[in-house]
Every structure is written in C-alpha cells, then in structure tokens.
Symmetry: C2
Subunit: 227 residues, 2 copies
DNA sequence: ATTATCTATAGATCTATAGATAATGC
DNA sequence: ATTATCTATAGATCTATAGATAATGC
C-alpha cells in the first residue's frame, strides 16, 4: 500500500452536517409516506442509521424536527418562484397574462420538485399532505405567503375586470391541481392502466399551466365576472 | 306530574346504534382535524364520552374504526354520483359535454359534502387528506373506482380526438381542485382577507365545474391533442 | 477541551383484553 | 340469558433525558 488511502478522518463540522442531512432525509422520506403523525422518532433514527438520542441531540423534539425538514427547502423553493415571477414581470412589459404568470409559478415548482432528486420529491409530497390540513397552514403562511401574493397580484392584473372572489377560488383550484400532482399517490397509474403516471412531472408541467389558465379564463374571462 | 314523562328506556338495538353513531362521529371529526395517525383511541373515546374498551368492543382495532368511518358514507356518496351521471347520460342523448359531465359529478359532491351537515363536511375533509397519500389509495379504489371510471368514460366520449394521457392528467387536476376545496383549510380566508372562504361550498360549486371544463378544453380541445 | 455518539432508563402514553357490573330481553 | 358498559391492567411503545464513551480540536 504505497498510495495513501483516502483519509477517513472527518472534521466535527463535517460529521455534524452529514448526520444532520441523514436525519433530515430520513424524516422527510418517512413523513412523506405516512405523514408527520404516522412516524416516530425511533423510525427516523432507524432509517438514518443512528439512535433516537442523537435525533434529540440535534433537534429538541419531534415538532422541531418537522420545522427543520420544512425549512430546509422552503426558502430555496420560494426564492426560485420569486425569481421566476420577477423574470416574467420584466418580460411581460407590464401586461401580464394569466397563462404567463401560471407558467412562471407552476413550471418552476414542477422543475424544482420533479428534477430527479428524491429528496425534493419527498419534500413536495410531505408538503402536499400538510397543505390539505388546518394545522399545516402555519408552515405555508410562514414560508410562502409573499410569493403566493405575488402570483395573485399578477392574476389580478391579468384579469382587471374580474371579481376578487373568483380570482381566489381560481387560485384554490390551481393549488389543488399542483398539490394533487406533487402528492404522487400512484392512483393515476392504476386508473389509467399506465397511460399516465404520477411520477411523470414532465407531462404535468406540459399540461398544468395551460389547464389552469383555461380554467381561470372560463370563470373570469367571460361576460359575467362578478359574484 | 300527571303527564307520563318520556320513557328513558332504550332498546339494546337503539343503544347500540346511538353509541356506534357517537363513536363514528367522534372519530370522523378528530381524524379530519389531525389525520388518522394523529388521533388515539383514547381521544376518540373521550370525544364520544365513553371508554376505550367500548370502542374496542364495537370495532376490533383502530384500523377497523377507520374502515367503518370511511365505509359509512362512501356508498351513499358514490351512489349519488352514479345517479347524477345516469341522469346526465339520459339527458345528453348520447352526446356528453365536458362541462355537463363535470357538473353532474362535481356539483353532486359539493351538494353532498357541503349541505350543512357537519358530519359530511368532516368526512369530506378526512377523505381529502387520505386522497393525497399512498396508503389512502386502497380506500378510494375499493369504494369509488367504478364511479370514477364512469366520469372518465364520459370525458373520453366528450373529447373523442383527445389523447388518453391528457384526459387522465386533466382528471388529476379536477380531483386536485375538488380535494383542495373539501379540505377546508381556512387558508383561502386568510389569503383573500375574507373575499373568499373555505366553508363556502356554494361558491365552489358555482365555479368549479366551469373552471375544470375550461381547463380540460384548454389541453384537449385545440389542434395539438396528442402526446 | 469540546463535541459527536452511544447506553440505559424513567415516565408517560397507547392498544388491547380479561373480567366485573348493569342494563335490556323473553 | 344476552348484550351494553365499565374497571383494571398487561404489555408494548414512545418521548425525552442523564450520563458514559469515543472521537476531533488546539
């Protein structure tokens, strides 16, 4: 053995970061499968190949672990959407369209969450489950409130004659479609006999913004646009 | 006291039915708040004002309790949708439209789930949470598979030139909008500052089918309808 | 010296059942 | 007699912490 073998010595900072990452990945994965309440700290520790006490060493309690899992990717994902909306804002020259705004927002999310990284997919699936609960709301308000308002502002400007109420209900339907997709339940595969598959975010991206723009225009774009 | 007071004697069948109802209502309500895994049998017993042992007496275990909660309203809700699709089938004279089929399906659900009955609302909210999980899929396959295929069949006939894949992705978005609405998270109220509210299923019904029909036509109705 | 990791365990649940009691049924 | 309800508890699990050990840091 003349060659010096790769040193196995890791700095404490490295060790810490690696183990933190392992625990967060494990929690993210398990939470995405059975939800926050369906997972124990013991499950997480086992999945991360360590001990429950170490999970408690790095995270105060189970709630703090969820907070950390959520926060790890929240800012990155929000910033990407803000950047996409900024770019679209410049590009549209003060005249945003419904489909343009939705493409900027939704396509960015589908790229971020569906880009081949299992961690991001698990995160999205966990988020989609939290998004349909009351208790999960605080997480979205805390991390995503501003970027959501940016999207809604663009939609309002694209549909200046439309009642606010319709815009918000439309937004509700848009989010539903996104969340259903990010949930990756596999039901689409079963129902369609393979013609469509839950994991195929490229197809979702191809259809989603156009679908949602068609929907928004259907309830906002015709003669009766109030009430 | 000349009048005979209302007899407090209840038959065993009555007692049984009342307590079963109380337990199912309690479980339905609590499951809708924090999900199946976020609720203990003790919580359910407390909410139903009885003891855990009685919950076990009527239901083998926690899983069987969820099965019973789900099954109690599943058939009623599925049958109502089937009836609505049957009626539409007759009415359309062999020429279904996308919006007609969606009105039959979605409006029926919004009437069923939003008709002022707390139990039905809680059931819908629980269902919406289960619908975005993998483990919840079996419940939908077991109870709703046929009626979903009926809807998809109508959509296919309304869009004979459209690629199957687009139909199924469209269906995915439709279900997302419905599920997001049934979830009643209250986020709509906060985001809109009161302009729209999660509990207002009458408004949801007013916009949903039209929105979704606009979306389906946007991805299926134009020149490029394959791939 | 400091920090990461592991061992051991207290104390608090939680599920499920056995067995007693109290009501209704014939 | 039969069934609904309650009491008591076993046994399993879960969260969280105290304290020991093993690694890295200067």
């Amino acid at each position: 053995m003349t060659a010096v073998s790769k040193p196995k010595r890791r700095t404490k900072a490295q060790q810490r970061e690696e183990m933190l990452g392992q625990i967060l990945d494990a929690a993210e994965y398990l939470f995405s499968l059975t939800g926050y309440h369906g997972v124990t700290i013991k499950d997480v520790a086992k999945q991360a190949e360590t001990h429950t006490s170490l999970v408690h060493y790095y995270f105060t309690d189970k709630k703090a672990l969820l907070d950390a899992v959520f926060a790890r990717r929240a800012k990155i994902s929000a910033d990407l959407r803000v950047a996409a909306l900024d770019a679209y804002e410049r590009e549209c020259g003060g005249k945003p369209s419904v489909e343009g705004a939705l493409h900027a927002y939704l396509d960015t999310d589908l790229d971020t969450f569906g880009g081949g990284d299992d961690g991001w997919r698990n995160y999205a699936t966990l988020g989609s489950q939290m998004a349909v609960t009351r208790w999960g709301g605080e997480y979205f308000d805390t991390h995503f409130y501003p970027v959501v308002l940016r999207l809604i502002d663009l939609l309002k400007r694209a549909l200046p004659d439309c009642d606010e109420k319709r815009i918000f209900w439309g937004y509700n339907f848009v989010m539903g479609g996104l969340i259903m997709t990010l949930a990756r339940t596999g039901r689409l595969d079963i129902l369609s006999g393979g013609a469509a598959t839950s994991e195929d975010f490229a197809s979702a991206k191809k259809y989603m913004a156009r679908f949602m723009a068609g929907g928004m225009l259907a309830i906002c774009g015709d003669g009766e646009t109030a009430g």
